[in-house]
């Protein structure tokens, strides 16, 4: 993964702003995905995405707490332009289907968490500020924990549970 955002990550406050952006966007995206699944009555998958949204939100809240604890007066606006089409932990809308199974939803989440772990590890390697480096290492570790957690969750949905056999409610005309 090539990034250049972290080249500017020279202070703890900048790093925190960056992490806040990553986690907030990931959380918001999961919430939107949950909504679209709800609207199309795939509640099992909606629940998974909602849970993922909650996890990412907790993460974002943690960052916010750190800002307060460190008594940082200045937190740069978390308005990032990702070098990739989407944020490093943001789910891709085009991976969704209303018939998708819980297993497929979790695989999507796993993919996002793995991406995030690699991404933060990459930052840890490249930044020069020691505090920022430490923070990035912690972030990478947290994402790796998420990966393990999603992998565990996946055990509830073994391969052969796939119900994507046929579309019993094919598209209908609406206009």
């Amino acid at each position: 993964m090539t990034t250049n955002e972290h080249l500017k990550l020279e202070s703890v406050s900048e790093m925190l702003a960056f992490v806040l952006a990553v986690e907030t966007e990931a959380s918001e995206r999961y919430a939107e995905m949950a909504e679209s699944m709800d609207a199309h009555n795939n509640t099992k998958v909606a629940e998974i995405f909602r849970e993922m949204a909650d996890i990412e939100e907790l993460h974002a809240e943690g960052v916010q707490r750190q800002v307060t604890e460190l008594n940082l007066e200045y937190l740069p606006k978390a308005d990032y332009k990702w070098s990739a089409p989407e944020g490093p932990e943001t789910g891709d809308f085009s991976d969704l289907h209303y018939l998708m199974t819980p297993r497929e939803a979790l695989l999507l989440a796993l993919h996002n968490e793995k991406r995030a772990a690699v991404y933060f590890a990459d930052i840890a390697e490249k930044v020069t500020n020691d505090d920022v480096k430490k923070m990035a290492q912690e972030m990478a570790e947290e994402e790796r924990e998420h990966v393990q957690w999603v992998e565990k969750w996946l055990l509830d949905y073994p391969e052969d549970e796939n119900e994507w056999v046929e579309d019993v409610d094919p598209p209908v005309e609406q206009g």
């Binding site: 009555n41 209303y98 409610d169 209908v172 206009g175």
Partner: protein, 576 residues
């Protein structure tokens, strides 16, 4: 209750479920098997607003005699799940005699449903489906319902083989096994219907939708060119014709919009090929200027308008009869044209064929007003009889010196030259013209051409196809279109109560038939005008166009809640 329902002539069943639940599949299979078994009836549906995976309900009515009416309530509502059921709860009326079947793990029955007081039966639908590999809850539902309407296993397995066979034997077997478990679950449930008749011979019955019937009828009438622009709920007319036309050497072209599709159809018909387009309210609104062109240039063309709720984009998937005004009055200037309306799914076949006959015979546009309810309903009906109206456009067969395309004739119809005929060349024109077609602003030309265009419509013999008049009595139920089914059933029920009610269902909305209507209304003291509009368009039309020698009252309601026969019965019983 078991006894009562089992002996009745009709049973109504709704199957509801959200995306992926397959409620429509269940409803369709149930309906097809019942039709095979010999039941008559209709299958309608209601949908949520999603393109995919929305909540849906299949509404099946099975009857022992042909009917196009919905019943007053549903005997059975089977919910595979309850998601968003409030969106169409009002479309599934229940009473305390009804049975609600739901999944024991699917949560409480929502209040909008349970307040009917219906008996609630909770069964392990999803859990039982899991016992079978690839087993689906909707097949459990099909099993339960098949048991409740006593559908033979053999008919059901044959149908499944036919419908699912392409998915392989494993899929069929899995479904059959699941259905079997569903049947076992229904062991303690009452039988709500039992066929005490012979299975009809193959080919004796048909299952067809109104939109398919409209397309087929149009082709029977001679339509060989169609210009199409998709719109709900009319698209199926066009799609069906698209594959049917090439079998007859005809063709269909997809237009860029409705302004284009109507003009393409006029162009094709000007070329001598009977032509049609199909649309719904928004499309009809765009077409009106050009329908006026067909009036002035005397080019036959058929517009099938499958009505939905309006105004504007309105309710694309829900039925209404509110395009009546635009169909009759929507053209600018004095523009005599034909407006017809089928009365039921199977009547779409007859009325479409007749509409082509009228358009071709009268060299005028014919708007056929179908609606979403009958257009998208599937009906199990007797195979219709072949009809031959002897449809023939009056054409110029040989070129003549000084040919007058718009010659003023007694009938008002003038022989039309078809491009390719030497000596018949003329220019069709939407400008007022002289008999030769030359643009003219002279008063005499305008007067004689207007008279001719009106005369050909008013002088034509529409025979008794103009309306369905059934029964006798001093009370008349006057209606049109898909509310005819409910009106007819209401009249039948009133007769059982000793009230003689006459049904007058109008198929020819324009031009009006004053003498025939006067005869139909002779002896009538009260007439109830039944229609699915908010502003009582049909009631106002009847009052404006006909002399009414009786009291008249409107019973009207906007969509999407359809009018049911019991409501009409009550209106009449309470009319003092």
């Amino acid at each position: 209750m078991t006894q009562e329902l089992a002996s009745s002539r009709s049973v109504s069943i709704a199957v509801a479920g959200s995306g992926g639940a397959g409620a429509m599949t269940t409803g369709n299979l149930l309906f097809d098997v019942a039709a095979k078994q010999g039941w008559f009836g209709t299958l309608t549906r209601t949908l949520g607003p999603q393109i995919r995976g929305g909540e849906a309900a299949a509404m099946v009515r099975l009857t022992t005699a042909p009917t196009s009416s919905p019943d007053d309530f549903f005997h059975v509502l089977l919910a595979i799940d309850w998601k968003n059921v409030e969106r169409f709860a009002a479309e599934i009326p229940l009473t305390s005699d009804s049975i609600i079947i739901s999944d024991v793990d699917g949560g409480d029955v929502p209040e909008v449903i349970s307040r009917s007081g219906a008996k609630i039966v909770q069964l392990p639908i999803a859990k039982t489906a899991k016992q079978i590999k690839q087993g689906r809850p909707n097949m459990i539902a099909l099993g339960i319902l098949a048991e409740m309407v006593s559908l033979p296993e053999r008919t059901l397995s044959d149908m499944l083989e036919k419908k699912l066979g392409r998915k392989g034997q494993e899929a069929v077997q899995s479904s059959l096994d699941t259905i079997k478990l569903g049947r076992e679950l229904a062991a303690d449930l009452p039988v709500v219907a039992k066929a005490d008749f012979e299975q009809p011979a193959p080919g004796e019955r048909m299952v067809i939708s109104g939109n398919e019937a409209a397309g087929w009828g149009a082709i029977k009438g001679g339509i060989r060119f169609v210009a199409a622009y998709p719109i709900t709920p009319a698209t199926e007319v066009l799609e069906w014709m698209s594959s049917a036309l090439p079998k007859l050497g005809g063709s269909l072209v997809q237009a860029e919009d409705e302004l284009s599709s109507i003009n393409m159809a006029i162009g094709g018909s000007y070329g001598g090929i009977p032509s049609l387009t199909a649309t719904s309210g928004p499309g009809l609104a765009l077409m009106t200027e050009s329908i006026g062109l067909a009036v002035a240039s005397e080019v036959p063309v058929v517009i099938v308008n499958v009505m939905r709720g309006g105004p504007s984009t309105g309710l694309p998937t829900k039925s209404e009869q509110s395009d009546l005004n635009i169909a009759i009055y929507g053209l600018h200037g004095d523009a005599p044209h034909i407006v017809t309306a089928p009365m039921a799914v199977e009547d779409c076949l007859f009325t479409a064929q007749w509409s082509v006959h009228l358009a071709e015979s009268l060299q005028a546009p014919a708007i056929m007003l179908s609606d979403q309810f009958m257009g998208q309903a599937r009906a199990a009906v007797e195979k219709p009889e072949e009809i031959d109206f002897g449809t023939k456009r009056e054409v110029l067969t040989e070129g003549v010196e000084g040919y007058e395309r718009y010659a003023v004739t007694d009938s008002g119809v003038s022989p039309m030259a078809i491009p390719g005929l030497p000596g018949g060349q003329y220019t069709a024109d939407g400008l007022e013209h002289s008999p030769t077609g030359t643009p003219s602003t002279q008063d005499a030309h305008h007067a004689e051409q207007m008279d001719k265009r009106l005369r050909k419509l008013t002088e034509f013999d529409y025979a008794d196809h103009w309306a369905a008049i059934e029964g006798d009595g001093d009370i008349a139920i006057v209606t049109w279109g898909s509310t005819t089914g409910a009106a007819r059933e209401a009249a039948e029920r009133l007769r059982e109560f000793g009230i003689n009610a006459k049904l007058i269902a109008i198929r020819l909305l324009s031009p009006v038939q004053p003498e025939k209507m006067a005869a139909a209304l002779a002896g009538v003291e009260k007439m109830l005008v039944v229609e699915q509009t908010h502003s009582a368009q049909f009631f106002r039309y009847v009052r404006a166009q006909y002399d009414l020698p009786c009291q008249a009252k409107a019973f009207n309601r906007a969509g999407p809640i359809i009018i049911r026969p019991g409501e009409i019965v009550n209106e009449i019983k309470n009319w003092s």
